[in-house]
């Protein structure tokens, strides 16, 4: 019997890579399939991040393994148009990452403000 728990624990509360963060953000409002994810990520990042199919599906495979996302079976789900949705674990990770980024931004703003005042 294979165990997945140790890997999940190891991945918890590690800063997320940008593609992973953008995928989680894109799935936060609604389930999306691969092509829709790519387009949404491009839009979210204002055209800065354009994931290749290889990168996207590498990240999706890891996120499925870690159970941060799951397959979403809609009524019209075809074999080649599989949608994905965020799990509660994925949602928690996204919240944690956004909180971490807010803290960093606050700290950086404080430092920059004090530098300007000198």
């Amino acid at each position: 019997m294979r165990q997945v728990a140790p890997q999940q624990d190891a991945n918890e509360n590690k800063p997320l890579s940008e593609p992973v963060l953008l995928i989680l953000m894109s799935l936060a409002d609604e389930p999306r399939h691969g092509y829709a994810l790519m387009k949404d990520i491009e839009e979210l990042s204002k055209g800065r991040v354009r994931l290749s199919t290889g990168t996207l599906y590498g990240a999706l495979r890891r996120l499925l393994n870690d159970k941060w996302i799951e397959r979403f079976e809609g009524e019209d789900t075809a074999r080649d148009k599989q949608s994905y949705k965020l799990t509660s674990a994925g949602y928690k990770q996204l919240e944690w990452e956004l909180e971490r980024m807010k803290q960093l931004t606050r700290a950086a703003s404080r430092l920059m403000k004090s530098e300007v005042l000198k």
């Binding site: 294979r2 165990q3 997945v4 890997q7 399939h33 691969g34 092509y35 790519m38 290749s52 199919t53 290889g54 990168t55 996207l56 599906y57 590498g58 999706l60 495979r61 890891r62 499925l64 393994n65 397959r71 079976e73 789900t77 074999r79 080649d80 148009k81 599989q82």
Partner: protein, 141 residues
């Protein structure tokens, strides 16, 4: 698209089984969009995706060889939920159909049309067997 078919074969077999149809669908849609934007956009896309697939395949092999949980508990979309409640012979017949289809697609991709025709007949027989089993167990597809 032939080059993408070929490059996807560099991925580990488990990855191919689960993600290759989706990846091809994404590549097809993106290719269609880029073609409309002109030749140079399409060439840039083809180069970027080809390198991406090669890099992705290498990364997946590294993950497979270093991670005992690689693709743990993952199966093709929709299969897991259904299979747990299906009779064993139906599951077996369904897998047989999938395997024949995979062989047929492979033969077509390699331009082995005689072989593909053989698998096409085999697929019809396998589907017939699956249909009769589904009728036997009153399973609606």
């Amino acid at each position: 698209m032939q080059i993408f078919h070929l490059l996807l074969r560099f991925y580990p077999p488990e990855h191919q089984t689960i993600f290759a149809p989706e990846m091809l669908a994404v590549l097809r849609e993106t290719a269609c969009e880029k073609r409309q934007r002109g030749g140079s956009a399409y060439i840039r896309f083809a180069l970027k995706e080809s390198f991406g697939l090669l890099r992705g395949a290498a990364a997946e092999w590294v993950a497979k060889l270093t991670n005992g949980n690689y693709m743990a508990n993952q199966c093709p979309p929709g299969q897991a939920e259904q299979e747990s409640s299906l009779p064993a012979e139906v599951v077996k017949a369904r897998k047989h159909v999938q395997s024949i289809v995979a062989h047929m697609e492979n033969a077509i991709a390699n331009h082995q049309f005689e072989k593909a025709r053989f698998f096409s007949y085999a697929e019809q027989e396998a589907r017939e067997r699956l249909r009769s089993l589904q009728q036997k167990y009153k399973i609606v597809e």
